[in-house]
């Protein structure tokens, strides 16, 4: 099984969990997404964030190894890339991680930094969610149901 393929779908699953748990914490208008259970949303969001950072690290190391080995093989499932949606994902991921770390670490000590990074984190979530819809639309061929093999002997 291709490594980049597994990473892609793990990434998608973790990002989906992050988006849904994060939306629930965005405000009183958004809380219904998780029935106003903010405590659960908070734990789920932080655990998924840790996995998200780990996956990011794995993808970066994987890409670095490929560059150093001068591996030119095309990896259609890789999450990060030098252009297009791969580049967009890379930039948004770094911003998500940096702003998320600031929110996590300075929530009680630096309210100005927390408020600013929370604003970026929230608005970027809306942008990323919209971009994923576009990404799915562009890759809808992956959703086609496998056809039954033609019976022989007809």
């Amino acid at each position: 099984m291709k490594f980049d393929f597994i990473l892609h779908w793990l990434w998608a699953l973790v990002f989906s969990i992050l988006a849904l748990s994060g939306i629930a914490m965005a405000g009183a208008k958004y809380g219904w997404v998780m029935q106003y259970d903010i405590a659960t949303a908070d734990i789920v969001h932080r655990l998924a964030a840790a996995i998200y950072v780990l996956l990011t690290l794995i993808v970066i190391i994987y890409e670095m190894i490929r560059i150093l080995r001068r591996d030119q093989t095309r990896k259609p499932w890789i999450v990060f890339g030098p252009s297009g949606y791969g580049l967009f994902t890379f930039i948004t991921t770094l911003i998500f991680i940096i702003t998320g770390a600031v929110i996590w670490l300075f929530m009680d000590s630096n309210h100005a930094a927390t408020a600013f990074t929370l604003w970026i984190h929230e608005k970027l979530t809306y942008l990323a969610a919209a971009s994923v819809i576009w990404h799915i639309y562009m890759k809808t061929h992956a959703l086609k149901w496998p056809k039954k093999k033609a019976r022989r002997g007809r």
Partner: protein
């Protein structure tokens, strides 16, 4: 190949649908009326519970610990040289290998 397996296709459909749900939830929440007083109260209660029971409150307690503060200080001391080395490595790879 997993892409030809129905159970995996089903998983893809589940993940994909969840993104549509997330985006629809954002749009609905953003443009709907409210929040009502009841919703605000529910949200505040949820936040208070999170402060008491989840990591949100725990992280605040932990940061008051002097040992943890020392560990954070040491981590930052390590982080900046590592960051500088990483950036230098990235620039080297980019310039040298022409990727």
């Amino acid at each position: 190949m997993w892409m030809q397996k129905k159970w995996f296709r089903l998983l893809i459909w589940m993940v994909t649908t969840s993104f549509f749900f997330a985006f629809a939830a954002i749009l609905i929440s953003m443009f709907r009326f409210g929040p009502t007083e009841q919703e605000t109260m529910s949200f505040m209660m949820g936040m208070m519970k999170a402060m008491e029971t989840s990591l949100m409150g725990l992280s605040m307690h932990v940061k008051e610990d002097t040992n943890v503060q020392w560990l954070m200080y040491e981590s930052v001391q390590f982080a900046f040289p590592l960051l500088a080395i990483s950036i230098a490595g990235g620039v080297y790879v980019r310039c040298r290998r022409k990727v």
